[in-house]
Point group: C2
Chain length 147, copies 2
């Protein structure tokens, strides 16, 4: 059992897509995360759902629970509005971490270790220089528990 046996097609967003479109895709299709592709169609980064959410949270609230608490309710409900024109490229975190990307030969154990280490419920599979699909935590667990 290798990544190639577990992967499935997965939707992608481009770097110049609006953040709001990425959030909507995540919500509407109930995805565990988003694959952001560059102009060449290969993954530029993978964003777990909580990272997509982070793109939508004002910086001044991210690390200070007290500030998020005092924002008045009406404002809190509409904070997404400010994102209307922001692109994924503009919102991406500056620091680059290890990305949950591997190749079609990865074993089940390798996929599990990669998801655990990068805390991503989604791994992109790249082979022959292009995106082949993705393996989700759900698909991996289903396979592991069926064994």
């Amino acid at each position: 059992m290798r990544a190639r046996d577990l992967l499935a097609d997965f939707p992608t967003v481009g770097l110049d897509s609006p953040v709001i479109d990425a959030a909507r895709m995540l919500a509407d299709q109930d995805l565990p995360g988003i694959i952001v592709v560059g102009d060449d169609g290969t993954p530029f980064t993978i964003l777990p759902g909580t990272e997509v959410l982070r793109l939508a949270v004002p910086a001044y609230c991210q690390d200070d629970p007290a500030l998020a608490r005092v924002v008045d309710e009406a404002h809190a409900d509409t904070f997404l509005n400010a994102l209307d024109r922001r692109t994924v490229r503009e919102a991406l975190p500056k620091r680059q971490r290890e990305l949950p990307i591997t190749d079609p030969d990865a074993t089940v154990l390798e996929l599990a270790a990669l998801m655990a280490r990068t805390r991503s419920p989604l791994v992109a599979i790249v082979g022959d220089g292009r995106l082949q699909g993705a393996v989700t935590l759900q698909a991996l667990l289903d396979r592991m528990l069926a064994a």
Copy 2:
């Protein structure tokens, strides 16, 4: 709009539940994570799906991609077997981090900031000294995008 308006019942596991049961619950019910409760029924910790997966990955493979790659395929497919008798308590990480737990008065922005900061697609809501339910990333995004 407050946490109390977004929360829903959410299944829990006890500290002495087998890890394999937690993994099975996550997979079968397609949950974004698990709420682990102590003997008094209040949340002891919240484990995002990737942390549940981490419980199932041998320590020697977690931080070394090369080791996970060289484990032979047959062994990689069955590494979960060793977990049969391990409990959640035994498998929990030693270090305690900020937990994604808040109260029913939390605003939408507060919930979003908490999920982003703790990287948890799941927040437990505790009020009146007991677990009231949980807010998922999915429920929060649905609400934010409908606004």
